[in-house]
Amino acid sequence: MYFDYAATTPPHSEVLKTFEAVSRDFWANPSALYRPGLRAESMLEQARLQVLKLLGAEGKYRCVFTGGATESNNMALFCSARHFKKRGKHLITGAVEHPSVLEVCRALEREGWELTVLPVNGCGVVEPETLRQALRPDTTVVSLMHVNNEIGAVNDIIELGGIVKEESNAVFHVDAAQSVGKFDLSLDGTPVDLLTFSAHKFFGLKGSGALIMKERLELPPLLYGGGQESGFRSGTADVARAAALAKALRLSLENRAEIYSRVELFKGKIAAALLAIPDVELNGTLENSSPFIINCSIGGVRPETVLQGLAEKEIFISTVSACSARKTAESAVVFALTGKHERAKTSIRISFSSLTTGEEVDTLCAEFGPLIDALRFKKK
């Protein structure tokens, strides 16, 4: 029983079929001038168009295929910061951003940029007023995530982006790795300049993502070379991965609304079961958060032991996000919103997807109480 879909998802069998067929029948270099090359190029461009259409971005944005959200975030931040450095060298991001945003900002800080890391409120979201206060005439890049990967808090990117556009000339970047394929996103008419996502979060393949960028934004590339992807990202295009990404996105958006409300019920159920256990606190709120992620702190119990205890029963959940699971024992995200080390040290994350079933949720709810009781008993 897998409850760690926020870390990654298994590729959909149809996606694998597309990947295999495209790898086999469209393997030519899409930049080549002979017919197989032309065919590969058509596939690549069609995949690109499909992604843009599905995100309501056709005609206003371009889609650059990348090696995943981390690369997209690196590209978005490094390239826009460097491109606009003559206009100013001030960056803004949030305290609960993914490391692939925060660490890039810190790297830029070491290169001489000034960085403001915005605090989040108790729900884990950036308050519009906090952002407004932080914006300056020399702010050139603002990067805020849509859905937080650890606690599922949802930033109102339309309102926040609106403030960015009202108060500054800054580029507005959104890391949407946890919302693309799950939320109803339509970029046309929004203040979003750059949007990042990864395919493996919605049943696509690892090593595959995209950066959606406003058409008028002519950023320099991060990877220089043969000028593929209209010069934005060199390297022979991976047509099969691009096709698989487009397919995965289409499939995941097909029953999106229905899945969303189903998962919402699961989250409510699990939240109730967790809160029935003494000394368990939710990190983040149930309202205004992603139904796909729930995060809580279990007082007096080390999260690894909960994880191991459930794993023995073939139930897989996660402690802090997988990307940092092996590094520290404390969740920076949970600390940012609670301000308590104890809470940050004892947090676990449970995440769902369209594959999650009602029985799985019931089993998890049933196992939780006794397990934690047992663990607490052992400690005495």
Binding site: A21, R39, E215, R216
Partner: protein
């Protein structure tokens, strides 16, 4: 805010005299055709404006279609109500609040088309303003009768009344179809589709002519032209455009082997003009158009244009001649041709580029060099073997349709 109706204000038709009505009729037809995919929408024709009743249709989707119609000056978005003072007041309230957002000041103006309405237009405006002033939440309305930022208009008609505030500029231009046709030389570059757009904007029905030189140019170059044509087709009233594809290889090879290298390009373009004139004659088209811009490349100097233009007596309009590249790029982006135009394939103008093309050619030299080979039969062969393709808006032609089907299946 959801609107009930779009009031379409017509463009420069006041310039027209006795044929004004036929322009209006044509424009009305085009508007109806463009909106035919919205079953709920109805359109009504009036003296100086059209009314589009949305009946629940998303106004932005409708405007997107209407942006393809030339001859419209602006859109006013409004709400409809019964022709009763109370209903008008209630409808005006949210419209006025919406209009006053971000600190804009307003005033009311009324046009009373139905003269039997008990109040006159000034009285209606006063009553509506009084109602809005007393019923709007504190601070949401700012009146300024002397110098308003925006005017909220009330149209009182017999069957219904309309309150509009938001006015959006439309595409402008003249309705297509009554000014005749133009034959546009369509290379595949950035400039020619923009030139085509501007010709259509002045009411001309555009057909395209494209020169290809297989095997020096590939199927990709033709695909590019098809895709550009598809974008342009949206602006034509019937939503389709004709493209004449000229097989240019034999003539082009003959030119570059017979004529000194530096004159090759000049003579080549003279041949293109001759062929275009021939095709135009076949289709009774009396005007050539192209994307030449002054000073961009060697063929775009006055001397070059003079030497090249001398082969035809058809008028040649170069709508982008005096535009800067950034202006051209701006339009190309707006009409969606930019990304297609920058695809990097050879076209027939780039395959045999001389190293040092002459920038101040002499007409006499051209005539003399052309005597070195028997070009007339070759030109006639080009005209005779030209292929005509019709491309419909929204239905791009894929040269490799097998692949297209395969791709659709996999995605």
């Amino acid at each position: 805010m959801q609107y009930d109706a779009i009031l379409i204000r017509l463009g420069e038709l006041f310039l027209k005299g006795k044929n004004k009505q036929s322009f209006i009729d044509r424009l009305f037809q085009t508007v109806k055709t463009k909106l035919k995919n919205f079953p709920a929408v109805t359109v009504e024709k009036s003296n100086d404006h059209f009314m589009v009743f949305l009946n629940g249709t998303d106004y932005q989707a409708a405007l997107k279609q209407l942006d393809f119609v030339f001859g419209i000056h602006s859109y006013a978005l409004g709400k409809i109500c019964e022709t009763e003072l109370e209903a008008i007041c209630e409808t005006a309230l949210p419209v006025a609040i919406e209009a006053c957002r971000s600190g804009v000041s307003i005033k009311f103006e009324t046009k009373r088309g139905w003269k039997k309405f008990p109040l006159n237009s000034i009285e209606i405006s006063q009553q509506v303003a009084a109602y809005v002033g007393t019923n709007a939440p504190e601070g949401t309305i700012r009146f300024n009768v002397a110098r308003p930022d925006a005017v909220v208009r009330v149209f009182v008609k017999k069957q219904y009344s309309l309150v509009v505030a938001k006015v959006i500029p439309a595409s402008g231009g003249l309705p297509i179809g009554l000014n005749g046709k133009a034959l546009l030389m369509l290379s595949g570059g950035l400039d020619s589709p923009v030139a085509g757009y501007l010709l259509m904007k002045r009411g001309l029905e555009v057909e395209g002519i494209h020169f290809e030189s297989p095997p020096y140019t590939t199927a990709r170059a033709r695909q590019k032209v098809y895709d550009l044509a598809e974008k342009m087709a949206h602006y034509l009233p019937k939503g389709k455009i004709r493209i004449h594809v000229v097989p240019f290889t034999n003539l082009q090879k003959e030119i570059f082997s017979s004529v000194p290298e530096n004159y090759g390009m000049t003579v080549m373009r003279r041949m293109m003009y001759r062929i275009s004139a021939g095709i135009a004659e076949q289709h009774k088209i009396r005007l050539l158009g192209n994307g030449e811009s002054l000073g961009q490349v060697a063929s775009q100097t006055p001397a070059s244009m003079w030497a090249i233009n001398a082969v035809t007596d058809l008028p040649v309009i170069r709508p982008v001649a005096c535009m800067d590249k950034v202006e051209i790029v701006g339009i190309a982006r707006k009409i969606g041709t930019y990304d297609i135009s920058i695809r990097p394939y050879e076209d027939c103008c780039t395959v045999f580029v001389p190293k040092f093309p002459v920038t101040f050619p002499k007409k006499e030299h051209c005539d003399r060099y052309e005597k070195r080979f028997d070009w007339e039969p070759l030109v006639q062969a080009c005209i005779a073997n030209t292929e005509m393709v019709e491309i419909k808006a929204g239905e791009p032609i894929q040269l490799d349709s097998e692949t297209t089907d395969e791709i659709c299946g996999l995605l």
